[in-house]
Assembly symmetry: C3
Homo-oligomer: 354 residues x 3
């Protein structure tokens, strides 16, 4: 497919809680097999999941202290990916190494840097809400897609689909998603998308706080490769008009939070990690469960559509798309990805993002 990847970026490899202290697990990101484990002090380690000897997966191996042993013929590797033991052989060839990937735990995710290790800067990792943060009540899940990540990005960058794809879930009773266009602004590694939705009907459990209807300011940062960090701020009806539909400066009565990450597994598979909830002061757990349930149902609606879309694309990969004004953000984001990709390639423009 000519698929190429932007490598100099932090990718979400999984939930921190997936990697127990003795666990050795396999992941694939941008087509590369990775093995994840923790050192004795809990530091996550990510190596190429392919022993340099006979190419068996190291994820079938065993953690031994800070090191990882291949359980085919017993080669042992340090967290830097250097082979430090070959049974029955005193001398270890210098080529006996596997690639190490910089890895960091931040928020509740494990992040891995797929590019040049010298460029890996953990301060570039976007802040996300930890599931353990007492200031929030968030529920987490994940979903595997048989689709290229960029199609999921397209979906998240154009929420006009809420009125149709999610007419019975997230978009119920809200033609505004499709009828009104959001404000889009550029960030260093992505886009900010903001909009007011006015006069929404208030769910029963918020009516005491908000009255029968409310104004909703919905803003998210969308960052490469597929980070979707949404905050929905709930205000009394009339607020949107009063601030002239600008971004509000006043504290909201309620604040919904969604942290999501799309990770490309390979050109036709992606893994989607997500947490949904609100500030602890706004919500009780039963409401979190309900909110999460509707959200996850909607994700399955997306998955069905996007996987079908991928199949249609695979039948005729050169078929053009006729884009609409609602496609402004996905179009802009695809252009940025192409630029980042070109910047990493010896021959800019020779590679395609999907």
């Amino acid at each position: 497919m000519g698929q190429a990847w932007v490598r100099n970026a932090w990718y979400v490899a999984g939930w921190a809680h997936e990697l127990g202290s003795d666990a050795v697990i396999a992941r694939t990101i941008i087509g590369e097999p990775l093995v994840l484990y923790r050192q004795d002090d809990g530091t996550p380690v990510v190596l190429q999941d392919r022993c340099c000897h006979r190419l068996a997966p190291l994820s079938m191996g065993r953690r031994e202290g800070d090191n990882l042993r291949c359980m085919y013929h017993g080669f042992k590797f340090s967290p830097e990916g250097r082979c430090i033991e070959i049974p029955g052989q005193p001398k270890i060839p210098p080529k006996a190494v596997v690639r190490r990937y910089p890895a960091v735990e931040s928020g509740s995710w494990l992040w891995v840097w797929m590019g040049d290790p010298a460029l890996a800067d953990p301060t570039q990792i976007a802040p996300t809400i930890s599931l353990k943060d007492p200031a929030y009540r968030m529920k987490a899940g994940q979903l595997d897609y048989d689709a290229n990540y960029i199609l999921i990005d397209d979906n998240l960058l154009d929420l006009s689909h809420l009125s149709f794809a999610h007419e019975n879930t997230l978009g119920r009773g809200m033609p505004q998603w499709a009828q009104e266009r959001p404000r889009i602004s550029r960030l260093e590694r992505g886009l900010r998308v903001e909009r007011w939705i006015q006069n929404r009907a208030t769910p029963p459990y918020m009516q005491q706080k908000l009255g029968d209807t409310f104004d909703n300011f919905i803003a998210y940062d969308f960052l490469f490769p597929g980070l979707f960090l949404l905050r929905a701020y709930f205000y009394p009806a009339g607020t949107a008009q009063r601030v002239n539909l600008e971004a509000p400066n006043e504290p909201p009565l309620f604040q919904r939070c969604d942290d999501q990450a799309v990770t490309p597994v390979d050109a036709r598979r992606s893994r989607y990690f997500y947490a949904a909830g609100a500030r602890a002061q706004d919500i009780e757990w039963p409401q979190v469960e309900k909110m999460y349930g509707i959200t996850e149902t909607a994700f399955h609606e997306d998955k069905a559509l996007i996987e079908a879309q991928q199949k249609m694309i695979d039948r005729d990969p050169e078929h053009p798309m006729v884009l609409a004004t609602a496609d402004a953000a996905p179009t802009q984001f695809r252009r940025m990805v192409q630029q980042w990709l070109d910047a990493e390639q010896p021959t800019p423009g020779a590679q395609r993002i999907a």
Copy 2:
């Protein structure tokens, strides 16, 4: 595989009863994704099953009156395939169209024209027996093949296989199928295949009419892409000799009817539609059931052989076939298909029929 398709032809897309008034269903014919639905007045509509916007399948959409709406971002299409609504956008780009395919309901089948719409002439559709026609008692079914349609055509054009592949079903006790060659004559869009089988043992329920043995005149028209319209005429023993093995001119005592259609899904998949029965005056429903049951068992015998044959061909696509005198009709038909294909191609001979 270099597979190319004759496009200017009517293909059977399905049974009329499969397409309910609110149904929106997906079909693939000659590799092209189609969506089928009905207008308010019942007229069948066939469009390309790929929204011009983000390429999601329209078959995941919703019928709205005579129109069809994509349920990803809400684009709406007329029965002509023109986009007539983009939510939140007053101007519709002229390129926002999907391909329309001429469609007709005839007999009990839905027919679609895959080629140039200007050439679509419904009068060219071969007459077939409607399942609702009170003059007949027919039972219908269908079967999916993992095989190229031309292999099923070969099978239907050379019934010598009845004596072996169907030695326990349709060909039981009839070495004549393999021992005797039929008369073949050319039609505009296919071939006519006729033969007498003399002195067949009469099934019990026909013995009152036919005696212990009878003469059977079996004739079928085989038309592109895989229409098999068979009538078997039952006469008193001795009739074949009396008419010098020519086509009989006198009314039969019993008449069996088989209408079948092979539709190419893609180069390796086909769908086979069939109805089997007899004139209402000849048969009661329990006998139709029995006749149909034997026929369908035989179709599964064919399916096992033809799918295995396809796998063998896929292992070595250039392996030659050593043909026999029984292959006259399939050979002639393949040559006709090649000619129709060449007539549609800018470079005749450059494309292969399978």
Copy 3:
């Protein structure tokens, strides 16, 4: 993958008991479809499993005396692969033949020669123990691999993996497998691999004969394409030192036997046939069962690793292996296979063994 095959060799096609007197079975070896049956006198016949007519598998056919009939249109073939009957057609075209492969039953295996029939010499077939030989008690099984045969050969030629892959089964308590290197010598069609393992702990049921520990001389011939013929000789502790770690000349107190054969199905699939046991004088059946059970568990450990290794290789077929001193035998054997392959090819070096 550029996979090419050494053809002038005897391949194990199956167990003799798999092919009953009326059985007609399909096998694939080095990517070629074969049909196996027996003549009236029991002689095994191997033909190409593809009727010369319409290319249906002959393995869906029927044995008729010494001959085999295709059950699609009834072509009948002699054990030499010559078509001897076409129903309804007196003259048989001379091209109506299918390839015949020389076949022999030896030991308990059926062997087929995949190369030039003029070079097929059954005396070249290595002697193996018949399951019916009263001098032995052997139990047999088989396993299908989704992996190239050469990876299984690599595994069997470097038993250093026993200490790791089989640390709970065949290699339990024996770091020597990985720590000590065997003696390797060249045979005409493969390699001989020999080693002493000293001071092994004796299993309870042998302690009366052997005492608490014993010395073990383990020797196997490994022959193309994947024949592994192992004999393990058990001696009183101290024997290895006394004979200066040379091959012993004296009769052992116990002798374990393993006859195994790896047959390439195609470039990504293999079938592994094996029998394990000992001399009848050494062992009772319950011990054979136990020995076999541990062995088969170990084979499943190998299968999991080797199939995972194959998948890693398929992700990046050009990824180099960093070899160790333990790889001497597999490296030498791969070089021999390449030489045999080159010797059969018009352009030596142009083809790859895996």
